[in-house]
């Protein structure tokens, strides 16, 4: 029987059913304090790291291109890019690289698919949700794609904590359709030559992932002190680095209202 140790006062902080997402799990692995601020308390970020508009736009373009036609149809792709004001070499190149890997001719697909899977027993309970960029069904595979517009951080998809969450929710989806799961990252930036090795988890992998997540949630319930990693390399990219009590890259929060308040004080 699994034990489920609960730290004092946590009942008021965590919901009865903790939810994990790829981002939340990745955050927990990186820094428990960041997890607390971002995923438990919902503290507004004090520092920006980089604009995410580019990645969001790429995902939207991929969805529209596939829902209204095919990525193999260059005129259609050009129309969609032009419609979004980005018919340029940069986005055109990304779509060329995508089309070489897209199984659109081989099977049926869906984009921006929200999935959820509930773990009931052994305790503690938890819910896992994930948005999958694209799911293709072909050749007996549930071929899930995660489009990446930035640098490559992992040699194998299986090594990315976010992929382990995705695999957990996708597994149930694949099982119900009697398909084999393959999770693949498509790196579309020109500077990334090769994708990481796809993840094709077997039954043992998936049992191990579920236990890994269960242990993580049990750890969450047992946390007494939400200590940050206080590592300058990590903190310098953190969206809470200015206000986090454990920050190794402290600074001034970027909230514009602070300048307004300061200006008003000077005037009076």
């Amino acid at each position: 029987m699994a034990t489920n140790v609960r730290a004092t006062g946590r009942d008021q902080l965590l919901p009865q059913i903790v939810t994990l997402t790829p981002t939340a799990y990745d955050t927990w692995k990186r820094c428990p304090r960041e997890y607390l601020l971002s995923h438990v308390l919902g503290v507004p970020t004090s520092d920006e790291i980089r604009p995410t508009d580019h990645g969001l736009l790429l995902h939207e373009l991929l969805r529209v291109v596939h829902e209204q036609g095919t990525c193999r149809d260059l005129d259609h792709v050009r129309d969609v890019l032009a419609g979004h004001g980005v018919d340029d070499q940069h986005f055109g190149g990304m779509f060329e690289r995508h089309a070489r890997r897209c199984p659109t001719d081989a099977g049926v697909g869906a984009h921006e698919v929200d999935l959820a899977r509930f773990h009931r027993m052994p305790a503690p309970m938890f819910m896992v949700t994930a948005r999958i960029d694209a799911i293709w069904v072909h050749d007996g595979f549930l071929d899930a794609r995660d489009y990446k517009s930035g640098a490559r951080w992992y040699e194998r998809v299986a090594d990315d904590p976010r992929a382990r969450i995705q695999a957990f929710v996708l597994d149930q989806y694949a099982q119900r359709r009697q398909l084999r799961l393959r999770l693949r990252y498509e790196h579309l930036a020109a500077e990334v030559d090769d994708d990481p090795e796809p993840f094709e988890p077997d039954d043992d992998d998936l049992v191990a992932i579920e236990e890994e997540l269960r242990v993580m949630v049990a750890e969450l319930w047992a946390v007494e002190e939400w200590n940050g990693v206080a590592d300058a390399a990590v903190c310098s990219w953190c969206r809470f680095r200015s206000i986090c009590t454990d920050s190794a890259a402290a600074g001034e929060p970027g909230w514009p209202v602070l300048a307004l308040a300061e200006s008003n004080e000077r005037d009076t």
Binding site: Q16, L41, P44, A116, I243, V257, L260, A261
Partner: protein, 237 residues
């Protein structure tokens, strides 16, 4: 576990009115019926609620707010305290020269007897200025992405919810992001806007009812934080 107050009308929120067609119908049905499930208060609203409540206390009499009206809430985490201080500073910076007094309006729900529903959600700070004009301050703490501070759906709900209080007076609606320092100010003729707003709410309530009448669950992003997961057939083993 899924208890509701027996004498209460079904509830609708702005989220229901906006997105009934895409919501999980099982969750929608239970929320509409007022079932609590495994609901627990979220710490995500701790800072925002504290700022609003302290501002309300500051406006217990007709005057401007001051920094001293916003004592740092030491029971919150230090990072939440930092947000609170910034937001309180923002409130004083944005409204520090506008005296107002809080009025007693139900801040959380309005009963629409003809529709047989309760319209539930935060109204914001209901105030009256020195000349007796009504002013509604809707306060935000960081608006994600490029979303507007207020949209037509929320404006209609505020019109419906403030109508009895405002009457035929013009309402000044001020929506402020206290961290970004961004403000949208509008003068609303609530009495004139009420029929259209009620028509929209009525039409949307019908959609909510129709969807809730067939409570088929849909597993997805909404399962995050759903208080009705136990017993949901979307999550049967």
């Amino acid at each position: 576990m899924e208890s509701a107050e027996e004498d209460e009308l079904p509830r609708v929120t702005l989220a229901h009115l906006r997105g009934a067609e895409t919501m999980c119908r099982r969750r929608l049905a239970r929320e509409h019926a007022g079932l609590r499930g495994r609901w627990s208060p979220s710490p995500r609203y701790a800072v925002g609620n504290r700022v609003v409540e302290d501002a309300r206390v500051a406006h217990a009499e007709l005057r401007t707010p001051h920094a001293r009206d916003f004592p740092t809430p030491t029971d919150l985490f230090p990072e939440q305290q930092a947000v609170y201080r910034a937001a309180a500073g923002g409130y004083v910076a944005l409204f520090g020269e506008r005296p107002a007094v809080a009025v007693t309006v139900d801040a959380w729900e309005t009963e629409l007897a003809e529709l047989e529903v309760r319209l539930v959600g935060s109204l914001g700070l209901a105030l009256e200025t020195a000349d007796g004009s009504p002013e509604l301050r809707s306060l935000r703490l960081g608006v994600a992405g490029n979303r507007p501070l207020i949209d037509d759906g929320e404006r209609r709900v505020l019109v419906v919810r403030s109508a009895a209080w405002v009457g035929v007076r013009p309402l000044r609606l001020v929506v402020a992001d206290l961290l970004a320092g961004a403000v949208v100010e509008e003068e609303l003729d609530v009495a004139a806007a009420l029929p259209e707003a009620l028509e929209w709410v009525t039409a949307r309530v019908e959609v909510v009812r129709a969807r809730a009448a067939d409570p088929v669950p849909k597993a997805g992003a909404e399962c995050r934080g759903c208080p009705y997961v136990p017993g949901c057939r979307a999550h049967e083993a």
